[in-house]
């Protein structure tokens, strides 16, 4: 407990110094002061309130990070007050639009943007990004391409601006690792499975904690050369998917593998009973907090598939501004987005919250804030560093955008799991997923 | 001015007339008793005065004021219910005070009125209790008190003593009479108990079948019942009724009772009516207390031969059941003791105590 708090204190001190020294200069274009002046006169007593809905509860490190950034922002921007509401924003903000009571801005996933777009709820960010108070082009250019692509609808409208980038990676318990006589992290899937088996045999702990969601199978599928959506038709019944399913059957039915779900991902690991845990970068700080310094937590990236390279899935959350907000509120919300995605704040976000930064241009600030510890693995920033490496690899994918995406993903996952559970053969699973997914896409099925 | 007037009032419950075309006045300061058997409409009559029932037709007047469609709260009358209807969740004090509080009386005035009524009824020590902690008599006094505190124009009482035991009822009866004298207010009082009616009433209204049979002072009702119903209903035991045929014995009018002839002295008030009656039949009534029983016939008064069937000794008096003929029976109340039954006796009476009723209309001849 104590170590976490002290570390946070150090980081926050460093963060505010950074903000003073580097951040402001970089993030405040020449227009900003005048903007502040004109509004300060009239609104000093009543700052523009920007309600922000997001799902980062103060229960974890990400929540702490976002709260810190918000409070610093509110202190340095007296004309604006950002008020955070912790809520499952992706689903709830749309319901709030329907209820006629939406916030000014929110963090939502990039899949739900279809429903929001259909509801006509979101403000188009193009004008903000490229306008006079726009996003610095140096950073804009550095935004990870796949991330940037995912923030656009197929007809190139942009309602989203990235903030919370999740990429998959594996954590390992360094003490168990050492006990099992392992030295280097695995670089292939077979190595990974071998290491998990060894871990389990030598230490008695569970070898591998695998995930049960699309975070898991989708990157594997792509690293095996798969891609399931071409324009309007599906390509699921393919050798790449067959390979993927076979791999998953082998892995998940192996005695050293334990399939984890929503509620149980961290407990085993935090208790030191799990050798390797599949998770995402943002989970690193959360796991470390749960571990509480009992043992060092190491990180390694997702191994490559049959294509010879890995496929890193970008999923995560993006800022949106709601159309229903007043122009002043929208402007203030944009000011906050710009602030949040500036290098100084991205450094806080990455070091405290464990998220990789949105842009290559932010990496330097992250490194600087992390200091000498940046390269240590196990080390406090290993999760972020590995995530940055993955993003820099260029093999980043994002979830294919489509109106029935959630349903299709559910179909694929259900079929994969049925095959894993030996309820049906791989070929049946492949045929079923293709036909059922098509049914959803054509609107013949609904859920 | 606390006169209550029923003006051609009727009350129907569905197809049944509970009260039929009643016209009646309860005069100021009067203790008017509505008397009759159960179901005779006396309670409905009272409740219409209270405003608890709407008359189906007719008018109700309070003094000069037509209150037919006025809510009870605007009539300024108070009522004592048979079951008292005390509010179970309120203390005696609150029970008494409730009506005053609803009328927005000042708290001090409420306290004064409640304490005054409590003092009169001896309820001071019970004010903090709830009804279920009180005896029957105490509850009855609270019910009275609740009616008194408001000092209404008139009291309406619906068999207020019927739930008390005999001793308490007798005591309370006396208190009630004293109270009436003291308050000098109109009281309309419903009972089926003729003793209560006789002892309390200024005037009695005898009702039956939703219709008023007779209105009069207790003495008038007792002495001059207008019909057979009233004659029989008043008095315990009720008046003896004998079917007779009129005949003449030595030129004088005589009644033929069964197999016996009863010569009557001339000059009795009903004789002219009896003689002019179309029929030669009538019903003759005589109260048990007016019969004398003797071993030998009395001289100078009409006597009838009888046989003692049954004797009910009451201590201070004796009820003697007599057979005249197999189907003709009489009851006599005598101060004498008759220890034996089944002995022949003579029954005699003062012919002035005879009541004669038309056999068809059952109306008394003297009332015609």
């Amino acid at each position: 407990m104590k170590t976490v708090w002290t570390r946070m204190l150090h980081v926050s001190a460093a963060g505010s110094l950074m903000a003073a020294a580097v951040g402001c200069g970089a993030s405040a274009p020449s227009a900003a002061p005048s903007h502040h002046k004109t509004t300060a006169q009239s609104t000093a007593a009543h700052p523009t309130v920007v309600t922000l809905w997001d799902s980062h509860a103060a229960v974890n490190q990400q929540g702490h990070a976002i709260q810190r950034i918000i409070s610093t922002f509110n202190r340095t921007h007296p004309t604006i007050r950002v008020e955070q509401t912790v809520t499952p924003a992706s689903a709830k903000a749309l319901a709030a639009v329907q209820a006629g009571d939406p916030p000014v801005m929110a963090e939502i996933g990039h899949l739900p943007q279809y429903a929001y777009e259909r509801a006509g709820a979101l403000a188009n960010l193009h004008g903000f990004i490229y306008g006079p108070n726009g996003f610095p082009s140096s950073q804009l250019k550095g935004i990870w391409p796949a991330v940037w692509a995912a923030e656009h609808t197929p007809n190139h409208q942009q309602y989203l601006f990235p903030v919370d980038i999740k990429v998959a990676e594996f954590f390992y318990t360094a003490t168990l690792w050492k006990k099992a006589g392992l030295t280097a992290p695995p670089t292939t899937w077979s190595q990974l499975q071998h290491d998990a088996a060894v871990l389990q045999a030598k230490t008695g702990a569970i070898g591998l904690g695998a995930r049960l969601d699309h975070n898991d199978w989708l990157p594997l599928f792509y690293s095996n050369g798969g891609t399931y959506y071409h324009g309007s038709h599906l390509a699921l019944n393919t050798p790449a998917m067959a390979t993927t399913i076979q791999q998953l059957i082998t892995r998940d039915n192996a005695p050293y593998t334990k399939v984890l779900s929503y509620n149980t991902s961290f407990e085993d690991f935090a208790a030191g009973k799990l050798g390797i845990l599949e998770n995402t970068a943002d989970g690193y700080e959360m796991v470390r907090e749960d571990v509480g310094g009992k043992f060092p937590v190491g990180v390694f990236p997702v191994p490559p598939g049959t294509t010879g390279h890995t496929a890193v899935l970008y999923q995560g959350l993006s800022f949106v501004i709601f159309k229903s907000a007043t122009p002043a509120q929208q402007q203030a919300a944009w000011t906050f987005i710009k602030y949040f995605d500036a290098p100084a704040q991205q450094a806080v976000w990455s070091t405290v919250g464990g998220e990789p930064p949105i842009s290559q241009a932010d990496v330097a600030a992250v490194q600087q804030m992390a200091g000498s510890q940046y390269t240590a693995n196990p080390g406090p920033y290993a999760g972020t560093r590995v995530a940055i490496q993955e993003l820099q690899s260029g093999h980043v994918i994002h979830k294919i955008l489509g109106p029935a995406q959630t349903e299709v993903d559910t179909v694929i996952q259900d079929q994969i799991q049925s095959a894993i559970a030996h309820k049906e053969s791989v070929s049946t699973a492949l045929a079923n997923m293709e036909s059922q997914a098509l049914a959803y896409l054509s609107g013949n099925a609904a859920q | 001015m606390a006169q209550i007037e029923w003006d051609h009032v009727s009350k129907w419950f569905g197809p049944v007339a509970a009260v039929h075309n009643i016209s009646l006045v309860a005069r100021d300061h009067e203790f008017l008793v509505l008397l009759g058997p159960s179901g005779c409409g006396k309670t409905t009559t009272l409740r219409m005065a209270a405003g608890l029932e709407d008359p189906t037709s007719g008018r109700l007047l309070l003094g000069e004021r037509d209150v037919t469609h006025v809510e009870p709260r605007d009539r300024d009358l108070a009522m004592v219910f048979q079951n008292y209807a005390l509010y179970p969740h309120m203390t005696v004090y609150d029970n008494l005070a409730f009506g005053l509080k609803l009328r927005k009386t000042s708290p001090q005035a409420v306290r004064r009125a409640v304490e005054d009524a409590a003092a009169r009824l001896g309820l001071e020590s019970l004010l903090a209790r709830r009804p279920r902690e009180l005896s029957g008599g105490q509850r009855q006094r609270v019910a009275l008190g609740r009616a008194m505190v408001r000092q209404p124009q008139a009291f309406l009482m619906d068999e207020p003593l019927s739930n008390l035991d005999a001793t308490l009822r007798a005591e309370t009866r006396v208190q009630l009479k004293a109270l009436h004298a003291q308050l000098a207010t109109t009281i309309v009082y419903v009972t089926h108990d003729q003793v209560e009616a006789m002892t309390l009433a200024t005037r009695i209204v005898v009702m039956n079948g939703g219709v008023i049979q007779q209105v009069g002072t207790p003495d008038a009702i007792y002495d001059r019942p207008v019909n057979q119903f009233v004659a029989h209903f008043i008095g315990t035991p009720g008046m003896n009724m004998l079917p007779v045929l009129w005949g003449r014995v030595d030129g004088a009018l005589a009644a033929i009772v069964g197999s016996q002839r009863l010569p009557l002295p001339p000059g009795l008030p009903w004789m002219r009516a009896a003689e002019s009656a179309v029929s030669h039949a009538a019903t003759v009534g005589v109260r048990p207390e007016h019969l004398r029983v003797a071993a030998a016939p009395e001289t100078g008064t009409p006597s009838l031969k009888a046989r003692i069937r049954l004797v009910e000794p009451m201590g201070h008096e004796t009820l003697v059941h007599l057979d005249l003929d197999p189907d003709l029976t009489l009851v006599a109340r005598t101060p004498d003791r008759w220890p034996h039954s089944n002995i022949p006796v003579w029954v005699s009476f003062d012919p002035r105590h005879l009541h004669v009723f038309d056999p068809v209309s059952q109306v008394a001849y003297e009332a015609v």
Partner: protein, 323 residues
């Protein structure tokens, strides 16, 4: 005795009852008094009961009929398509209800028998045990389900601790498609059985003690007395317990939602193994925002529940004594 009864004239047309509190206006007053209750119910029971059928025929948009798209019976066709998962949700529901009702009745009756007062008064122990069994029933399902999530944690939960103490293999519970629903059942059994206990306690106290004693005098042992004397007395309550238990089980939502990852897509996992119709309806309408389709699910649910209730009533009437 003859009385002077005047002949009764024919009654007038209007008669007001003896309890009419306000003369002449009682008609309006009565309606005025029931109006608030009826208004609430009209808005959130009667109108929706009609509306649900209408909405199910549209691709519903919250703005109203004019902006909704008529699809006719298409949603019902989709319900019958196995891909939609609705039929599977019915199977899951049937399994859940089919297990929960007999289990909760058996356990409820057993516990009621256990805590039934033997003497004329309740002992402190009986009161305490009754309270302990009843308490979960009134607790909010979310709060207690969170505790049960801990209990069913495969690695650190009490459930597996008990199993390992009994030398049984550990189970995956909520992460297992086989054991997730039983885990939910155990939670709900614990949560709801207190209600059954109360129900049966009332019924047991109505069994005439002298009849039971007479049976004992006739040489019947406990089991015989129970079967021949007590059970017939319980049958009306048994019917009630079956109906109420079924309704309760079919409407279970909070505990399933919370225990099976509702915050991550509406619950019902893993692999839809706990997707009851209640969860399915919720997900259709409030995760995927297919209001019209969800309404169709609601209509079917309505009919199924009505059918189940009527069937149970019919069967119950045939087998119920001492009604």
């Amino acid at each position: 005795m003859v009385e002077t009864v005047p002949s009764q004239p024919s009654p007038p047309p209007v008669a007001i009852g003896p309890r009419a509190p306000v003369r002449r206006r009682s008609f309006n007053l009565g309606w005025a008094l029931v109006l608030p209750a009826l208004a609430f119910l009209a808005l959130f029971t009667y109108l929706p009961a009609v509306l649900v059928a209408a909405i199910s025929l549209f691709q519903w948009n919250l703005a109203g009929f004019s902006s909704s798209h008529w699809v006719g019976l298409q949603h019902y066709a989709q319900l019958l398509n196995p891909i939609s998962g609705f039929l599977q949700s019915l199977t899951v529901t049937a399994y859940y209800v089919g297990m929960m009702v007999p289990l909760s009745i058996a356990l409820g009756l057993g516990l009621a028998w256990l805590v039934k007062n033997r003497g004329p008064r309740l002992t402190a122990w009986e009161t305490f045990t009754r309270s302990a069994v009843f308490l979960p029933y009134i607790t909010p399902a979310i709060a207690t389900s969170i505790i049960w999530i801990f209990i069913f944690n495969p690695q650190f939960g009490l459930a597996n601790a008990v199993l390992s103490a009994l030398h049984l293999p550990a189970l995956g519970w909520l992460t297992s498609t086989t054991w997730a629903l039983p885990a939910v059942m155990i939670n709900n059994l614990w949560h709801n059985v207190g209600f059954m206990v109360i129900l049966f306690l009332a019924a047991l106290s109505n069994v005439p003690q002298d009849v039971v004693e007479a049976a004992w005098m006739d040489g019947a042992n406990g089991a015989v007395a129970f079967w021949h004397i007590i059970r017939p007395h319980l049958s009306p309550v048994m019917l009630l317990a079956v109906i109420l238990g079924t309704i309760q089980a079919m409407q279970t939502f909070g505990s399933i939602y919370q225990m099976t990852g509702g915050q991550f897509g509406g619950g019902g996992g893993p692999l839809n193994s706990t997707t009851t119709t209640a969860i399915y309806l919720y997900k259709s309408a409030f995760v995927y925002f297919h209001y019209g389709y969800g309404a169709a699910v609601g209509v079917v649910l309505f009919l199924v529940m009505l059918g189940v209730a009527l069937a149970q009533k019919k069967i119950g009437e045939r087998h119920t004594f001492y009604r």
